[in-house]
Symmetry: C2
Subunit: 295 residues, 2 copies
């Protein structure tokens, strides 16, 4: 890979994504000469030390970003405003400030106004994840072949954007740029709504009366099992995603609910053709995904 | 395994389940000395011959069941009434008539009245499946460690019920009996509703306007990908399941919709505690599943 892209990379938040980035940096080289870890709790940093996946640990975000030429926010998006406030005065001129959050308009809203003159703000979203969280959950191949979406505000320094793009390519990702509002709409349907639905149906099942609930657990067929896997994802991260992509998520949920009600009506009135047609629509999407090798 | 349970087993319908049963019979022994295959189309039977997974193929269901001591309906549940009508006069006395359908009240309603005196009717549901269908999709380990639920009507011959139970145990399944209405409620939440939701959200995505739809395909994150996998399941089978478990499915969908609307309200009004609480409820179900080794 030659020269590392950054001399000092500060990762603020060390869950699935942060710890995966750290592992890529450690295992592949070419990303950062030094990785500084910051997390909300000492317990997490202690685990990072045990895992040996960072060069230095700092519980104070202001100290963590000192002298860094790249700072990456990897905490739940709801924590960004406070983090940005804490680090802003300590960012060195020319530094790149980027993030990995699943919502982009909220990040620009919360962090943008706090970015000091001379610091380059490049919001990014690696579209990759599993249902596991915490520093133990990360792995260095998480980003391989996955998209990373950049949503730089107008006027962002082109060299800084290219550096972040190159960072993610070296992590194994494909990189694309898009409008923040467009990002939030697309992610609302491919990721945020599926998670909301999965959490909800698991809650609906959990609410069932005694015997039925037991049997739900006992006889969980393939459909429900897959939903519970998604529903095992990190609660704070997802709570923050829902709250920070409100408009797009509510719109997609409204569309989905209309469609589910139309299905309910077809079931009630025995409209076999309608049901079959909608099922075939769903299959079409699956086929397209397989053709695009995203399945 | 010793003596086979049945001398002649007729499988009416040769999709994922029927062809898997045939493979178990072929590979493990102890189930049936002879397997007769019936399917709706000659093309399917031709494929069954090529695969060599049945001893004999019969396109006429009446001929397929002749002399059989066990007849198993493995077609979509919407086809049961016509199939039962066609075979009823040809079932030999003492024969066991069973099925593998995902809805049990409808099977008892459609098939029960047509069962001749002296034939033992034992409705069953192996709770196993994949998103693939057709005679090529089956495999002999499909039922290993999965539940098979029996819903015999009151007064069913106990020896016949035990024989069907033993059949499924020899297929690798755990067997349990339950009330048909109870079965339909439990399956509505663990299987039928998840499928309805998966088909629906894939349709919702497919309806999106041009550019968004393309990007949905391009950036499908883990949540949506899992839904499309479920949504790849057989359209006719699922159409029939929805239409034949109407009451329970609509009730569970109504409960789910209420819960989704409560989540929507919490997102709209920023009720972080409510959202986190519901997410944690979903995770609890996942943990219970893992403890019960159903995950």
């Amino acid at each position: 890979m030659g020269e590392p892209l950054f001399r000092r990379l500060a990762l603020l938040g060390f869950g699935l994504i942060g710890s995966s980035v750290a592992r890529v940096a450690r295992e592949r080289g070419g990303l950062a000469a030094e990785v500084v870890a910051n997390a909300r709790t000492e317990a997490t940093l202690e685990r990072v030390r045990e895992l040996g996946i960072a060069d230095r640990c700092e519980i104070d975000p202001a100290r963590a970003v000192e002298g860094a030429d790249c700072v990456m926010l990897c905490a739940p998006v709801g924590a960004y405003a406070a983090l940005a406030q804490a680090i802003a005065p300590h960012l060195r001129p020319g530094c790149i400030l980027t993030d990995v959050g699943s919502t982009k308009q909220s990040v620009i809203r919360d962090v943008g106004p706090l970015v000091p003159e001379g610091v380059h703000f490049v919001p990014a979203h690696p579209v990759a994840g599993t249902e596991y969280s915490g520093p133990d959950a990360g792995f260095s191949t998480l980003f391989d072949g996955r998209w990373c979406l950049l949503t730089p505000p107008p006027g962002t320094d082109a060299a800084a954007v290219e550096k972040v793009a190159e960072f993610w390519r070296r992590c194994g990702s494909m990189v694309s740029s898009m409008e923040p509002s467009h990002h939030d709409r697309v992610l609302a349907i491919v990721s945020h709504l599926p998670h909301l639905i999965a959490f909800t149906i698991c809650g609906t099942a959990d609410d069932l009366e005694g015997e039925s609930r037991q049997q739900v657990l006992q006889f969980a067929a393939s459909g429900f099992r897959d939903f519970t896997r998604i529903a095992a994802s990190d609660p704070v991260m997802w709570r923050d995603v829902f709250l920070n992509n409100r408009e797009a998520l509510l719109e997609m949920l409204a569309r989905f609910t209309e469609d589910a009600q139309a299905m309910a009506r077809a079931v009630r009135w025995g409209d076999a053709d309608y049901i079959e047609d909608r099922i075939l629509r769903g299959r079409k999407i699956r086929r397209s995904l397989i053709e695009l090798k995203q399945a």
